[in-house]
């Protein structure tokens, strides 16, 4: 009868790298989904924020782009904001003035997130390194 001592060690040596790769892939995919979810939350919160005026100036007290960007950055995890966070606001009907009744869309784009950059360099465009999420609100 042939001895099987060492067979498990050999199998483990073969399978372990694949297992670790699988776990790392799962972690990264989960991480990617989580960052996407956090970005979507931040965009939704920012759309609400951009739609609501200050009490003292009901018709002109909507937050500026800088204030909305600050709000988004506050809502995102710090490891994400290590990259670049771009926030854009558009309104319909379009116009220079922010007015009640306008539909406002906030688009948050994350780029240059270090981990995603590294992933893209390894896997190509399988996982895009930029994450973009939008949300809308109606100005009160």
């Amino acid at each position: 009868m042939r001895r099987e001592v060492g067979a498990v060690a050999l199998e483990t040596a073969l399978v372990l790298p694949l297992t670790l790769l699988l776990i790392a892939g799962l972690m990264l995919a989960g991480f990617y989904v989580l960052v996407g979810s956090a970005t979507e939350d931040a965009a939704r919160d920012a759309a609400r924020f951009a739609s609501i005026p200050e009490q003292a100036s009901l018709h002109s007290g909507y937050p500026s782009l800088v204030e909305v960007t600050d709000r988004v950055e506050d809502r995102l995890p710090s490891f994400v904001t290590a990259g670049s966070v771009d926030v854009q606001i558009s309104q319909l009907p379009a116009g220079a003035m922010a007015l009640p009744g306008q539909v406002v869309t906030v688009t948050v784009t994350l780029s240059d997130v270090p981990l995603f950059e590294a992933l893209e360099s390894m896997l190509g465009s399988v996982i895009p390194s930029d994450i973009e999420r939008s949300a809308t609100g109606r100005r009160e």
Binding site: V5, L34, S37
Partner: protein, 332 residues
């Protein structure tokens, strides 16, 4: 078969257990928990918004409790309604985290007011009181004051949520989440055309002819002019009328969309059984021996449609339904 110390049976099972217990399970737990918490936070915010809007909409017109210089009885209904509606909304919301909420949900509602307005109003009233000639108009203006500011309701909704696998991970605790929403009362059904009061019957009528409809703009200008005149006499009173003018402008000169006609406002109020908020134009006499002057007074009165014959609409006073004449909007 090998027995004893050299047996390798179960080795893979042990390895798999270690990987599942210490890597895959905590990872899944963390991911799912974050997802659930995100869902419950959004749900909490939506519910707080619903409650604040519902509460602010029913603040009665005559309520000045949110104005510290003019403190009156504090009606609890708007605050009660705010929390009841917020909790009901939370209960009926089908967000993913619903089943993972744990602990007690708490709701706190409170009054809010515009501190800068109140501060200006205090200075304005103090200055006006010094002018003996204007004392009676201050009394007359008290009915108008509640319409000049935007009282509101703030709702704070808190609860704890626990991810689906949190209990399996040592050291993982339910997270407490609090969301706040603030809303102010604003006019919805307002008609700013002259309503005439019959001194004998007490009934009020409105003539809905096209010429009078055109008077909206005139009256809106009149409100602004009253503000300007008052500001000219007493500079600290500047801005007192702006909130009212903003509300009326929102209704009749909206920045987007079309404004409703007076007929539409009245038809809506009639079908809903709610009031329209009307400007009633009256003349107040200053009881002063040396002056004998008459001054025009604008007053807000909640009115219900009693009957309509052609363009003539007859109203009755209906304070009880006044809440239907308001809407609410969120503020920061």
């Amino acid at each position: 078969m090998i027995r004893g110390r050299e047996s390798e049976q179960g080795a893979i099972a042990i390895l798999l257990s270690v990987v599942v217990l210490f890597v895959l399970l905590p990872l899944s737990a963390a991911g799912l928990s974050a997802y659930v918490r995100s869902g419950t936070a959004a749900e909490l915010q939506r519910s707080a918004d619903t409650g604040a809007l519902a509460g602010a909409r029913i603040i009665p017109l005559g309520n000045t409790s949110a104005l510290p210089p003019l403190t009156g009885p504090l009606p609890s209904a708007p605050l009660d309604v705010a929390c009841t509606r917020a909790l009901a909304a939370l209960d009926s919301d089908d967000a993913i985290g619903d089943g993972y909420a744990s602990g007690t949900v708490s709701c706190e509602a409170s009054w809010i007011y515009d501190p800068s307005f109140v501060s200006n109003l205090g200075s304005c009233m103090t200055s006006l009181t010094g002018l003996t000639l204007l004392n009676p108009s201050i009394e007359l203006a008290r009915d108008l004051l509640p319409a000049l500011h935007h009282p509101g309701v703030q709702v704070e909704l808190s609860r704890t949520s626990e991810g689906p696998l949190d209990t399996l991970v040592p050291g993982s605790a339910p997270s407490a989440e609090t969301k706040q929403a603030r809303a102010i009362r604003r006019f919805k059904n307002a008609i700013n055309v002259p309503v005439l009061r019959n001194a004998f019957t007490g009934q009020m009528t409105l003539d809905l002819n096209a010429n009078l409809e055109a008077s909206r703009t005139t009256l809106l200008s009149a409100i602004n002019q009253v503000g300007s005149v008052l500001s000219g006499i007493v500079p600290v009173c500047s801005g007192m009328w702006s909130a009212l003018a903003d509300d009326i402008a929102d209704l009749y000169q909206p920045s987007t969309g079309n404004a409703p006609t007076v007929d539409e406002v009245i038809a809506d109020a009639r079908s809903q059984g709610t009031a329209v908020m009307a400007f009633v134009m009256q003349t107040g006499t200053i009881p002063c021996l040396t002056c004998g002057l008459s001054i025009p007074v604008l007053e807000f009165v909640p009115l219900c449609v009693a009957s309509q014959s052609g363009s003539i609409v007859t109203f009755t006073s209906c304070v009880a339904q006044a809440e239907g004449a308001f809407r609410a909007s969120l503020i920061r």
